[in-house]
Symmetry: D2
Subunit: 308 residues, 4 copies
């Protein structure tokens, strides 16, 4: 019997950091998961914890670091943590920090109507955006960094400019070709930075995220699509073209089917050109997954972003 | 043995209606649930379906009506449906239509960088907002209307201007008083319109929603809070004061606890005034629920908005 | 403006009580939610907490009572808690305790093969059953008790002995009649006990639950069904007939549709009589809800067990 | 720009197969996801679907095969499907079939009380077990098979025989050592079969599952645990020792913390030896993951079974 790859740590530490700039407050709202690996044979074989920093300690470290170093960005925060675990604990050879970030926007209160309690513009009130969840994963082995950022649960739709035809037909094929369909998906994306070394200049993580997200959305909107694969590839290549800090992008795109409803039994035409009625289906769904790579780069983002 | 209240219908019909105004498209994205009641003793006692319009038919009706009448607003659509079932089916005496609405915003593609495919501003591309879910419930008995609208899953936070002290202390009380805490909640709200009759002028449902939501958020932001109950009451009374079409509001507000982390063991101060680090807890949570009513009005929104 | 019904407390206290009987251990695993009402105007109007026992205290009380009194049954535990809050706190006039219970079964280790570590039968190892969740709600106003118990998420299926035909057909009806279909549902049930007074003999809560559940399942299995409503009524009336401690039952039964798949395009017959292939659909679904009452009793279980 | 790994297909086909053996019925209830790869460059680059078998066709195939071949086991069914796609479609070089299986048990109706409708023992009525979900993944590239089976969401607990002490203490360590704690986890496990070739004798998939599950549970129950890692390793090695058809096992085990509640402020002792009261926490949680391998075998199960 051999022990294979193993890792441990505290998952889903929900840390919220408020920064006060006078009356103006700022939020960072993260869900931080720590996974450590190294000389861990004994704890598996005999139960000796002599090399084990408790998962409870990794939790404490997350909260303490949020105070000591602040949270400039999820990526920067993960880098602090990963470096700490690998450099301070001899048995730990690798640290992987995964972070989900929830974004908040200010509640605007400046219009005249709202002032009847006498408040001026409020600077400490927020509503959670609830659109995508931003994610990042930082891995450090004492020498090299790997940073893979991304997002999940960003639901997008094109109500036209999507076709699907010219496909293989076998004995189990009944699908009708479509020349004007809805294309909708719930984007899960991960992109890998080519920053790997403390000697390199670090990307501007916040700006990079905004730009990658923008290019991805624009490519989705602007692609006249003959297949979801084509749209995916455009989304990925747009990022690689515009963002030199990114070498690899992977997507997992469920095809959120919107089926044109057959209303003929009720004497109604339901043509897309007139503005149609669709049934938004749950399951099953097409699932399209692919990696887009910069020329000459090696793929490192794991293939599976889902268990289904 | 007696049969008590009973109702039946098709739940969660996921209907999406695209409206095309030239190249500019609009979306209405609803989840519609139908519940019908009336002369339904026999189907329970003997299984005779002679009075039963199939739930499948109620589903078909939802999709057909979306085409025939369009979806001006969730409320208006529910009114069409409820009226249809009660007036067209003699055994059906009451119809209740519940609708969830998911909102979408346009993907902005107008900035110069994004045009490399040659696209002009795209008018058919959307991203789902993902913040609150808007809800409505229309009930019709052939004579009177009851419209209760609302929202759920709107997460809000004040990072200051909240205190909690001066409470009862019994032998099980260990809580420390707080003079500057985070107040966060996930708003579930329902408000009842005083429109009940086809003779009355109908409210402008879309505008009403925007305004109710705005007043609610402003009240949350602007209230210096000594208890979540006080904030709730301010949110409700602000709506009643400003929106004459609403007679009753009910809230279910979980207190999403953000606990100040004790960092003293690590030699760190964690004071709110300096911008602090919090642990965002899941369970248990305080749950504050109450109704605010216009003077002289009777409460009709059911007390329980949760099963917990 | 008037304050209407209001209630507050700590929801979802996850309390686990281990009882040791020598080497044999027993588990009670509950999720307890407390809701208190009474003289609570001031906390809403001015934020004064002078009448407010903190929700944190209600949490502490749950855990302390689990130790002081043990957890004989969810119902008995809820009765202890409700009585305490109403009798010990003058401003509190009513307490409602809701409890979810998760059941565990022992891991059987007695077969010969498993003993290689030298263990005898292990008496402290459990696997969570994961079938239905048992629920109860205890309400006390200082005088009268109301106990409503039930279950949720119990998924059942009859693979035959279900028909559906003879229903109303209007212009939106396309459904084909069915003479041998699958009937499946996810049972949510609540039943109200006629125990209301400390002077009455209390039901045996654990035995009552087992018996009610058994009668419900037997009625589901043994009813040749012409409609889900008929099956529902049989399930309810079987309980009322056999269990004199229960006066009222309410069900919310989604019709978990299993559609016969059309395999004719592939040259395959798919007849139910031969054992057929079905597509298990998610949404939409029929939703059938009704109350069954003992003669002469008044309905008190709220109509809505779902928000959809 | 290069296209990297890519795959597509229909996910979550919810297929239910009833087999009738006279009045006795049997259920197979699966959730089948298809992922195909091969010569798929063009659909990504230009949107040409000339090599694309539609995901809709893969769905139809799942349902047709359930009728044509039946579902002897999830593994056998996946093997049929994977072979079909790779051998019948020239551009498809690899097929991966993932299946979740939900198990059902019969509703026992044989006791005397239940017969009042006159039913004999009912043989077509079932209740969904709801404990673990069984999973499998079959991958075929036209030559070699890889079968990885497993389960998820099996929640287990030892109420004693677990300790945790002797760990590393750094400046962020505050955890107290524990000599008698609850050990609970929600098992996610995957095990890889050494059957890879049509020439080899195929394992008995159903029996293998029962036995692997049993050994895993026994190891959990019978291990006196000094760390969750030790328990994990025992669970894995017990499988490797007893089941020659399995070469590799991987676990992802969240440590479902049950914290002893401090009841001293209320004058109560809460010692484990007396049967104690615990708070079942949600987040954060320790997460322990590792692979156990047969000597001389190579690890092939992906490291990450979760995104957190």
């Amino acid at each position: 019997m051999i022990l294979g790859q193993n890792q441990y740590g505290k998952a889903e530490n929900r840390v919220v950091k408020i920064t006060r700039d006078g009356a103006t407050h700022h939020i960072k709202d993260l869900n931080v998961s720590v996974a450590l690996s190294g000389d861990m044979e004994e704890v598996h074989y005999s139960g000796s914890n002599a090399n084990v920093l408790p998962t409870d300690t990794t939790k404490n470290t997350v909260f303490a670091f949020a105070k000591e170093y602040g949270i400039e960005s999820a990526e920067q925060f993960g880098i602090h943590l990963a470096r700490h675990f690998v450099t301070s604990q001899e048995p730990i050879h690798q640290a992987r920090i995964r972070i989900e970030e929830y974004s908040w926007e200010r509640i605007a209160t400046s219009d005249a109507n709202s002032r009847f309690i006498g408040a001026d513009e409020v600077k400490h009130s927020f509503v959670r955006q609830g659109q995508e969840t931003r994610v990042t994963q930082i891995t450090y082995d004492g020498t090299q960094w790997e940073v893979i950022s991304g997002l999940k649960d960003l639901v997008v739709m094109n109500s036209t400019n999507s076709e699907f035809w010219g496909y293989v037909k076998d004995k189990y094929t009944t699908l009708q070709e479509a020349y004007d369909r809805i294309l909708a998906t719930q984007v899960a994306a991960r992109w890998r930075f080519n920053w790997t070394d403390d000697e390199q200049k670090m990307p501007h993580w916040e700006k990079s995220y905004e730009q990658v997200r923008k290019h991805m959305l624009h490519a989705f909107a602007e692609t006249y699509s003959l297949s979801l694969q084509q749209t995916l590839y455009q989304m990925g290549s747009r990022i690689i073209t515009h963002r030199s800090e990114v070498d690899e992008v992977r997507f997992s795109l469920p095809n959120k089917h919107h089926f044109l409803v057959d209303l003929e039994p009720f004497g109604l035409k339901n043509d897309t050109a007139d503005g149609a009625v669709y049934f938004a289906a749950d399951r099953p769904y097409g699932l399209i997954e692919a990696t887009v790579l910069r020329d000459g780069c090696e793929a490192r983002i794991p293939v599976d972003m889902t268990n289904l």
